[in-house]
């Protein structure tokens, strides 16, 4: 009597089993060839640049995507070898930065605050390699931080929202209580406050208290369902313009606003009118833009020309690093007067007559 013998499955079960395993295997094979981007080999063949994403991946419609767009463009324009290492989990980060350094490239771009520790460590061990990190300040001889004063652009968005709202209530929420997120929220709240001051109105902002530096957060940057219910809660409280600062969770906000019928959203990082599904286009009032791509092209260009420095690049309205997107379908609702007021505000901020401060200002 054999003591251990596999139980035979019923005959009917077997084909399904085979099918499921083979589907998984096939799925794994099919898309693989697309994975590695074509490597350009141009004039400066000896110069190469590597980028390491955070766990958000390349198609995050946020800083990973725009940083890679910048590095890709730098590769094409300058004829250098550029490639990207995609991190999928938190534990990938440090090994991927090490791998980027070991590739022998003289320029390594890392994206996001999660990569700060790994970047600093590798920068100290490899003083000859030039590093740049997006959205975080790392102080070292050979690291150039790329950061954005998004509060300046969010201020304009807040003023716009206050001018457009019909209910007298606007709202914002974040994915987590972190400086790069709350910087948007601070600027937004100040923009609304400025509108109230100028026009003598009483537009309320839900979801963020600048004094207390606390507000509404979904707790992660993935769960769109939470973004959806959060936004419904805001709409229940009478808000009609919502600024989600939570990556793809913002898509849940767009879905809730679309269903409610009277909600508008303000997208962040890139122009939501172009990056969101087409059904949401009529709802996108504007977007708070972070022009990461241009900054990356400039910095790689400077490094190729031998003029790398470690002074942080701070994107502002003045240097075009941040701005708000066109109003697209909602241009009529915004109206020429409000648009002109916002253009004037932009001039004032650039000229320094209006100063926007936040505890999170870089």
């Amino acid at each position: 009597m054999a003591s251990v013998r596999p139980m035979p499955l019923s005959a009917a079960a077997r084909p399904f089993l085979l099918l499921s395993t083979s589907v998984l295997l096939l799925a794994g094979c099919a898309a693989a060839p697309e994975a590695s981007p074509e490597v350009e080999s141009g004039a400066s063949a000896d110069y190469c640049a590597r980028m390491v994403t955070n766990s958000g991946g390349l198609q995050d419609r946020s800083f990973n995507q725009s940083s890679w767009a910048g590095l890709e463009r730098a590769g094409e324009e300058l004829g250098i070898d550029a490639d990207v290492i995609v991190s999928t989990t938190e534990t990938d980060l440090a090994p991927n930065v090490a791998q980027a350094v070991e590739s022998g490239c003289s320029f390594v771009l890392t994206v996001g605050y999660e990569l700060a520790a790994a970047t600093l460590e590798e920068a100290e061990q490899n003083p000859d390699v030039h590093f740049s990190i997006v959205d975080e300040v790392v102080e070292a001889e050979n690291v150039k931080p790329i950061i954005f004063d998004t509060a300046q652009a969010a201020f304009l968005a807040g003023y716009l929202a206050a001018g457009v709202t019909e209910t007298g209530t606007v709202a914002t929420f974040g994915g987590g209580n972190q400086p790069p997120v709350t910087l948007f929220m601070d600027g937004f709240v100040d923009g609304v406050a400025h509108y109230n001051e100028v026009k003598g109105t009483d537009v309320r902002v839900l979801g963020w208290n600048k004094q207390a530096q606390d507000g509404v957060f979904t707790g992660d940057f993935e769960d769109v369902n939470k973004g959806n219910t959060t936004t419904k809660n805001f709409l229940d409280q009478g808000a009609d313009v919502i600024l989600p600062v939570a990556g793809q969770v913002g898509e849940g906000a767009a879905a809730a606003a679309l269903e409610a019928g009277n909600g508008l959203i303000i997208w962040v990082d890139n122009d939501g009118y172009e990056t969101l599904p087409a059904e949401y286009r009529p709802l996108v009032l504007t977007s708070v833009l972070k022009n990461t791509a241009d900054a990356v092209v400039d910095i790689v260009g400077a490094d190729v020309n031998g003029t790398f420095d470690n002074a942080p690049f701070v994107g502002t309205l003045k240097n075009g690093g941040v701005d708000i997107a066109p109003y697209h379908d909602l241009e009529e609702r915004v109206g020429a007067d409000l648009a002109a007021e916002i253009d004037a505000l932009r001039e004032d901020i650039v000229a320094g007559t209006i100063e926007i401060t936040s505890p999170s200002t870089p």
Binding site: G57, N228, K232, P277, E279
Partner: protein, 428 residues
């Protein structure tokens, strides 16, 4: 045929004995919460009136808003709660158990007091609060139904998260290609079944540790969907990742019931499917031959085998069924809520569903209530954050988890799962 593979001592279904002579757990728990109520509602009382908004503008029957003066309500409730906990303690002294209705009443009054306290000077939209709770709970309920069936038949299902995520991904893809959200829902169930097949094959046929297979499957599905999302869906979002969403269907009459009607019966097809799934799993498990066999296999596979039930096949097909149910829950993230798929969009819902299974003592109705409790706590923290709660947001984000831990530790206590869950059955 006679070789037994498991320890007879643990496999016999022993009725739970009421061992604690003095039932002190409930009075202590109630006492702690009564003390908390006194601290918050009396010493930390907030002035102002909390307005409970019971109807939304679109509702057929309009219930007027109820203004609740915060401080007096809180003080009165705090004293009632103290009285209830004393009553519970007095009963414990005389050796009586605290009845469930008293605990339920206590919880309801505490919640009322807390809402009146937290919403002082603001409007609390009750209908929105409940609707959001249900929306957050739907995928958890589907996931926990999958968990209940799988564990009842003897296979620990840690792969719920993977089944949800596979369902979400496949439903978005198929619904986008076919233009039919029904096809997307069916595809989500197939995707859940495929994940289950792997779990079932490894755990039933090859006796691999079920928990490890489940964990690995979650990582596999996350990686696979993340990869396909980046390489396939994102570049062709218009064609492959813009599924049509399910429209809301108003059930006549039922949706006109004040307060709860619009919340429960102005929903999408997936939510109605969930009601049916919960009822069907409950009825099936406890009132049909299928359920009896399923539970027999999960409790005592050898006995089931002896009477001619094919243990491996029963486990295999029921684990597959569990996958189909969990997969349908995944479709809620896309077709029922937002539309497009996003990387790792289930964000741990499968693990909360797993907790709901255990919290619900492997019972479909109790697991559903547990999932609803979690959904309610999640949405409550959100609504309170919006109306300006005095509690920091980081603490508020912990609320759903704290409530779940308290509920599991305090109310459920020691639980006994299906005896043979997690144990491969090797026929002698």
């Amino acid at each position: 045929m006679s070789t037994a593979t498991h320890d007879p001592g643990t496999s016999v279904a022993v009725p739970v004995t009421r061992t604690d002579r003095r039932h002190v757990k409930a009075p202590i728990a109630l006492g702690v919460f009564a003390l908390l109520a006194v601290l918050l509602f009396v010493f930390g009382r907030r002035d102002g009136v909390a307005t409970f908004q019971l109807s939304r503008a679109a509702d057929v029957v309009q219930v007027p808003n109820i203004p609740v003066p915060s401080a007096p309500t809180g003080i009165v409730l705090a004293f009632v709660l103290v009285a209830l906990s004393i009553l519970s303690g007095w009963w414990a002294r005389s050796g009586r158990r605290t009845p469930t209705w008293l605990v339920a009443l206590f919880a309801a009054l505490f919640l009322l007091g807390f809402l009146a306290w937290a919403a002082a000077g603001a409007t609390l939209p009750i209908a929105g609060l409940l609707a959001g709770s249900l929306a957050l709970a739907v995928p958890l309920i589907f996931g926990s139904m999958g968990g209940v069936i799988s564990e009842r038949v003897g296979v620990v299902n840690v792969a719920i998260e993977g089944q949800l995520l596979a369902g979400a991904f496949t439903s978005a893809l198929v619904a986008s290609i076919t233009g039919s959200s029904l096809a997307g829902l069916a595809a989500a169930m197939v995707a859940g079944v495929l994940v289950s097949f792997v779990l079932a094959a490894f755990s039933i046929k090859y006796f691999v540790d079920q928990v490890i297979v489940g964990v690995v499957l979650n990582v596999l599905v996350s990686g696979l969907t993340g990869f396909l999302f980046a390489q396939l869906l994102s570049p062709n979002a218009a064609a492959l990742n813009s599924p049509p969403r399910f429209a809301r269907i108003n059930i006549p009459l039922l949706s006109e019931i004040p307060i709860l009607g619009p919340v429960l019966f102005r929903q999408t097809l997936i939510v109605y499917l969930m009601y049916i799934a919960v009822a069907a799993v409950y009825f099936g498990l406890f009132h049909t031959r299928w359920g009896l066999r399923l539970r027999a296999v999960g409790e005592h596979p050898q006995a089931a085998d002896t009477v001619g039930i094919n243990v491996a096949a029963t486990r295999f097909w029921n684990v597959s069924l569990a996958g189909a149910i969990a997969g349908a829950g995944g479709a809620f993230f896309t077709l029922g809520s937002v539309g497009a798929f996003g990387k790792d969009m289930t964000a741990g819902a499968g693990f909360i569903a797993l907790a709901a299974v255990i919290f619900g003592r492997w019972d479909p109705i109790r697991a559903t209530l547990a999932a609803l409790l979690f959904g309610f706590a999640s949405n409550l923290q959100n609504v309170l954050g919006i109306i300006g709660s005095p509690v920091p947001s980081e603490f508020m984000l912990m609320l759903p988890y704290v409530v779940t831990i308290f509920a599991v530790a305090g109310l459920v206590g020691r639980v006994r799962g299906p005896a043979a869950a997690g144990k491969p059955y090797v026929k002698g």
